[in-house]
């Protein structure tokens, strides 16, 4: 099962490398990793998606907590949470395909950001599975390029990951 681990980490040089290095050194999986500063410029927030059995996930959270730069972390997939990923797709849009892709974009509540006589750039936000579904529907033949942000997430309710 995938786990989404949210991490507040000191915004220091090398902090990202410490997290990435930990995963490679100990042989843990990383599915995706996103990082950006928070409203507090001394802190960055990372969202890390990983897989493993419960023992491995326990070790991952312990090892992450052990990093001196890590201030706090939480496995948000253990509680009710919202997760989102942003994807931009450059799709081939010619002849009848132009209409079809526009309709699909509407169904998936995406936006078309850029239009050329032969292509669209579509923006879609949602859970990973929704993004996967969109790509499947559009079909590999029509896809020129895909860029995905990796999953980010937040806990529902008044609980949260704060210092």
């Amino acid at each position: 099962m995938s786990h989404i681990i949210s991490i507040l980490i000191e915004n220091e040089s090398g902090a990202l490398a410490r997290v990435a290095g930990l995963f490679s050194a100990r042989g843990y999986n990383i599915e995706s990793l996103t990082v950006a500063p928070t409203q507090d410029p001394t802190l960055s927030r990372m969202t890390l998606v990983t897989t493993g059995n419960p023992e491995i996930i326990e070790q991952i959270t312990k090892q992450l907590n052990k990093l001196i730069d890590v201030v706090k972390l939480i496995d948000i997939s253990e509680s009710t949470h919202i997760e989102r990923e942003l994807m931009m797709v450059k799709a081939r849009a010619i002849n009848g395909g132009r209409e079809e892709i526009m309709r699909l974009t509407e169904i998936f509540r995406g936006n078309i950001l850029d239009v050329t006589p032969t292509t669209y750039i579509i923006e879609i936000t949602g859970e990973k599975s929704k993004l996967d579904a969109f790509l499947n529907t559009v079909g590999e033949d029509n896809i020129i390029e895909v860029v995905r942000s990796g999953t980010t997430g937040i806990l529902r309710g008044d609980r949260g990951l704060m210092v």
């Binding site: 490398a17 410490r18 290095g21 312990k62 052990k66 001196i68």
Partner: protein
């Protein structure tokens, strides 16, 4: 007070109470060395290779409990230190490494003697810093000492670009008195409820076993461990790193456990029904095959590092906390409990253990004409009444030292357990001798290991650190040869050391005293000669039996009750 960066660094060390700094100068640290030159409070020990600096600082730290401090230059100076840093990291030794870096303006340009040492060391330090602003230098040094010495200790590297130590730039200096970090809270108190559960479990045990490691020594909890063990009357075993945490000559001590542990320690591990682990990390050399580790036992584990808990072996009752307060509280809980350990079950258990002990699994041929390595260590132990500081390198001699020198006190046994670094022993002995100038410091080594840092004989000479080197010379990389004998049909691939130096002449050329010992009858006299030397280093080159093996041995993939015993030792015959 206005100081330059170089002066700030030195003043920080003074304010931190640093006595010795082990290092080697070079371009990027010239300003710092100039600042060192102008003071006499911090004494600099000039080594002959940066690896030696880290091992010497490590030996100083392991013996004294104080952090070891290292100063190296950028590039090769720093990369040479990496083996010693990794050694300290694996054994959780407090160490602060100060490395010079090329000036900020040229970082990233592949400048002369540039290496990304914070990147290189990231996986083998507790933490590291690249200081980019001289106004943050003092607080970073404070952080480094704070992080290195608290919680589960470890090495911390501070990389300092040369321009930060420029003598022309002076800034106000203030050394922080205390330090706290929002992202690091090292003082963990054990959970009371978990401790109660642990004590209840211990008092219900029929076949209990106590297994402790280096954490007891690092956590200064030997006295508490000893009190608790005596209070309970349970058998206790120590890991290689934990020797001396409990008196090695006490009857409740069943010897070291693991790959080269005693028969009784390993059998008791396998058959116990409650395992009480403290400050140990279930390393693969301890557990043997995990699937068959302590198959009947409920496991209690105390450790200051939560990530040690259930890392390799699933634990039933974890207690996360500093060893000393946790054990103190557990002693109180045992004393105040209305239950006592079951005396009948315990007597039965001891009878079983004493049966295993009667096998004398560490027995060796005492009548042999050749010098047996075990004999040398045993004689050394007898002569020093178990009270010397013993450092070692890595290999057979290390295991013989661990098996035959019975450590009654913590911090007397100094060896590279986790990383297994050959070359560690002699520089570590130098560091130990500096920490305890009046103590007898022996380095038990082998002819292969000693050559990995042999250059430090010069350091021992320069500072008159009178160490005593016991070289168990069998002409082979003995431990590798042993594995080749057992597992590769005695194909001794690259383990025979041709062209060995004449160690006597070599040591003499550095100005040390040296003796070659070929005859068993001369062993004791040579050791006594070494014991007499209080002002100079002595090198004893013992030419020992090249065929001797370390027994017992749990080979790879085997369980605790599946040991290879010395030829002639038959458990079935003995127990019948």
């Amino acid at each position: 007070m206005e100081l330059s960066g170089g002066e700030i660094l030195v003043q920080c060390l003074i304010d931190e109470g640093v006595e010795y700094i082990f290092g080697y100068p070079g371009g990027a640290v010239l300003h710092i060395y100039d600042a060192l030159f102008k003071q006499d409070k911090v004494k600099h020990i000039l080594v002959r290779h940066e690896q030696g600096a880290t091992h010497a600082a490590d030996g100083y730290a392991r013996s004294s409990g104080k952090p070891g401090v290292v100063l190296v230059t950028s590039g090769p100076g720093a990369t040479n230190a990496v083996t010693g840093i990794a050694t300290a990291y694996m054994d959780s030794i407090p160490m602060v490494i100060l490395s010079g870096q090329v000036p900020m303006a040229v970082i990233g340009s592949d400048a002369f003697q540039e290496a990304d040492i914070s990147g290189i060391t990231r996986p083998c330090v507790k933490h590291n810093f690249l200081v980019k602003d001289v106004t943050k230098l003092a607080s970073t040094i404070k952080k480094a000492f704070y992080i290195a010495t608290t919680g589960r200790p470890g090495p911390v590297l501070v990389d300092i670009p040369k321009n930060l130590t420029d003598p022309r730039v002076k800034i106000p200096y203030e050394y922080p008195k205390t330090m706290s970090l929002r992202s690091y809270n090292p003082h963990v108190k054990g959970h009371r409820w978990q401790m109660k559960k642990a004590v209840d479990c211990l008092l219900e045990a029929k076949r209990p076993m106590i297994y402790t490691g280096g954490g007891i020594i690092l956590g200064e909890a030997s006295a508490e461990l000893t009190e608790l063990t005596k209070l309970l009357g349970f058998p206790i075993t120590n890991t290689l790193m934990g020797l001396g945490a409990y008196p090695g000559t006490d009857k409740q001590f069943v010897g070291m456990l693991g790959m080269h542990g005693t028969y009784e320690a390993n059998m008791a591990m396998h058959d116990c029904d409650v395992l009480f682990a403290a400050g140990a990390r279930f390393d693969d050399r301890i557990t043997g095959i995990i699937a068959e580790f302590c198959p009947h036992a409920k496991i209690i584990h105390i450790d200051v590092d939560p990530s040690s808990i259930s890392k390799n072996v699933r634990v039933d009752i974890p207690v996360v906390g500093e060893l000393k307060p946790v054990l103190t509280e557990m002693i109180e809980l045992v004393k105040s409990s209305d239950r006592k350990p079951d005396p009948v079950a315990l007597a039965e258990w001891w009878k079983q253990i004493d049966g295993w002990r009667a096998l004398d699994s560490l027995g060796f041929d005492r009548n042999a004409d050749v010098i047996k390595p075990q004999y040398v260590v045993e004689q050394l132990w007898e002569m020093t009444h178990g009270d010397a500081y013993i450092t070692s390198d890595v290999g057979q001699h290390q295991m013989f030292a661990a098996q035959f020198y019975k450590f009654d006190k913590p911090r007397r046994w100094i060896n590279s357990g986790g990383l297994g670094t050959m070359g560690f022993g002699m520089p570590a002995a130098i560091g130990t001798k500096l920490a305890f100038p009046d103590a007898d410091v022996y380095c038990i080594t082998g002819e292969a290991s000693i050559q990995m840092c042999i250059q430090e004989l010069a350091t021992a000479r320069q500072y008159r650190t009178a160490i005593k080197i016991v070289n168990l010379n069998n002409g082979y990389m003995g431990m590798v040869r042993q594995w080749q004998e057992f597992s590769y049909d005695s194909r001794y691939s690259q383990t025979y050391l041709e062209a060995l130096p004449d160690f006597v002449k070599l040591a003499e050329s550095y100005g040390h005293m040296a003796l070659r010992i070929d005859k068993k009858a001369d062993v004791r006299a040579a050791l006594e000669e070494a014991q007499k030397q209080k002002d100079r280093t002595i090198f004893l080159d013992f030419h020992i039996d090249p065929t001797e093996n370390v027994y017992p041995m749990i080979e790879a993939g085997k369980a605790h009750n599946d040991m290879r015993l010395a030829p002639g030792v038959n458990p079935d015959a003995e127990l019948a």
